[in-house]
Symmetry: C2
Subunit: 337 residues, 2 copies
């Protein structure tokens, strides 16, 4: 981030017609946006574009979710038809949605806003062996970098989205691998699984981590226990940073992917904002490790980018205030004694 | 609220293409909106209108703030000129702003969006005696009811705003009177006062409460220790309920005014949403008493309606999802086993 622009933003925030610091967390957001853009005021971070990266997971075979695997492809069709929650939120908030097949098990029909960037038709079972090869992981990261670059050309704010039945299992494994958290601590109920399923999920994460044997090469960890959408999201975070555009992270899938991005390139995550903290326990662990404070806490656990999308108007409002608000001098308002 | 509409909303939320409950707090918001409108789906709560009720306070003489009293009128001019944070947020979020002089010490020039509904040129010093007469309190409440009715005619969501140097002192007194909290617990630093000023503020609240002698007639409490903007905001909450339009509450000023509204008419507050919880300690106490969960927690302490305005896109998004999202049946998505 550009320290001069960030400093200029802090100075301007203190001269604006409001008590110093009274915008709370949004003052940090405004300063960060200036630092990302290298300008004060920064360009308005609009419009927002949410990229929903979709992938399937071989670990589904372990019985870690009550949802059939084909729901991933069915939801991709639902996104393309505009029928999902992320579509409704985007329509209301003036954002665009693109859906990216980076790893869905079955192909989808072409549709407006659908990008076929499939690297592999679902990962292998991470409980039994590597989820994907290093080359596949790298190619999926590159998909994310590419989508970020394309969207940054005509959007001021990128928003992470994801779809993948069972992807909270891979997220929990990534969170444990990068933060050192215990599987029982980082693994949650995802869509709302029962106790026996949760116990299976924790055991699967333990087995996967044992295979890593403490190794921490980020791309290897990603290939061993991650998902194709996690890889793409890590790339999306890197691509947003390269384009100097803010990226708002959604829930635990994006949070765990951002851990990969941070391990590959620590500076990249400086341009990220945590849209919310989800009900999934690994998410708070990931955000703490990344040093990100979530903007919202609404007990969301849907994914798709919904929580990040809800935070995007707050990010835009912070930038707008920095650009528009009068100073004590210009408005003729007396300062405190 | 209309229980049939609320029940229909809950049923629809469970059939939408998402795991049950996965929208967290926004599912409660969506159901509440249906209950307020008496329809499922409810009309979209747009556009939003924020009414900034401005008033001055005789208790300023007690040295409870470092800000000169004339800042209230100067900020009213700043709102009318579009230079304040609430204006920037409203411009970004597509909301309208009206500024209502209900009790400013000096008159303001006419301007677009400025309403002169002055009841009295500032309250008397609540540390020494009643802040206003019962009749003035009643008239200020009626100002708020009237503004709510006017705005509800062409807005789907009302948002509370306020401006008044020293108004956190009156708010603390109202919070103590209605919740039974101790002055040291409910009184905060407002715009950021130092320790000696905070001690004076607490002592002033204690003196005012002693005079109430445990009396709890809502209008009397309001007249004794409240402000004219608090009275108008209490009326605004009542007026929104009468118009069956949701009202989003801002910080401690609105929260303490909602305590008055709830004491006058408990059912009225069923149509209110807490936009955020501010850094001011009395606010959380008020919200707990009202049974309202704040949508945002961003450490804001500006007032003007800024925190409530930031929450308004979330309220609209919840309604949009309820109206637009496909069901498992309609989208051909398989449900969990």
């Amino acid at each position: 981030r550009d320290h001069a622009a960030e400093h200029a933003a802090r100075e301007r925030l203190d001269r604006m017609t409001k008590p110093p610091g009274s915008l709370g967390v949004l003052e940090d957001v405004a300063a960060q946006l200036a630092g990302t853009a290298g300008a004060c005021p920064p360009p308005l971070p609009v419009p927002a574009a949410v990229a929903v990266f979709a992938g399937d997971h071989g670990v589904h075979a372990q019985g870690v979710t009550p949802w059939p695997q084909e729901v991933t492809a069915q939801m991709v069709a639902n996104f393309a038809a505009g029928g999902a929650v992320v579509n409704a939120f985007a329509a209301q908030l003036g954002a665009d949605v693109v859906v990216v097949d980076v790893g869905v098990a079955s192909p989808s029909a072409p549709a407006p806003g659908f990008l076929d960037r499939n690297v592999r038709r679902g990962t292998a079972d991470l409980a039994e062996g590597p989820a994907m090869t290093l080359d596949e992981a790298r190619r999926a990261v590159e998909v994310g970098i590419g989508v970020a670059a394309e969207l940054a050309a005509d959007h001021g704010c990128l928003v992470t989205g994801d779809m993948g039945i069972t992807n909270t299992t891979a997220s929990a494994a990534l969170v444990c691998a990068f933060t050192g958290a215990a599987p029982a601590e980082a693994t949650g109920r995802g869509t709302g699984v029962d106790d026996p399923t949760l116990a299976r999920k924790v055991a699967v994460v333990e087995r996967a981590l044992a295979r890593l044997d403490g190794g921490r090469d980020p791309l290897t960890v990603l290939a061993e226990v991650g998902g194709l959408e996690h890889a793409a999201l890590a790339g999306f975070v890197l691509g947003a940073a390269a384009a100097r555009v803010p990226v708002v992270l959604d829930g635990v899938i994006a949070g765990s992917a951002a851990l990969v991005a941070a391990a590959l390139c620590p500076a990249a995550v400086e341009h990220a904002l945590a849209g919310h903290v989800s009900a999934e326990p690994g998410h708070a662990l990931a955000l703490r490790h990344l040093g990100l404070r979530p903007l919202l806490g609404l007990d969301l656990r849907l994914g798709e980018g919904t929580g990040a999308l809800l935070a995007s108007p707050l990010v835009a409002a912070a930038a707008r205030a920095l650009a528009d608000v009068a100073t004590f001098d210009s408005a003729g308002v007396t300062e405190k004694s």
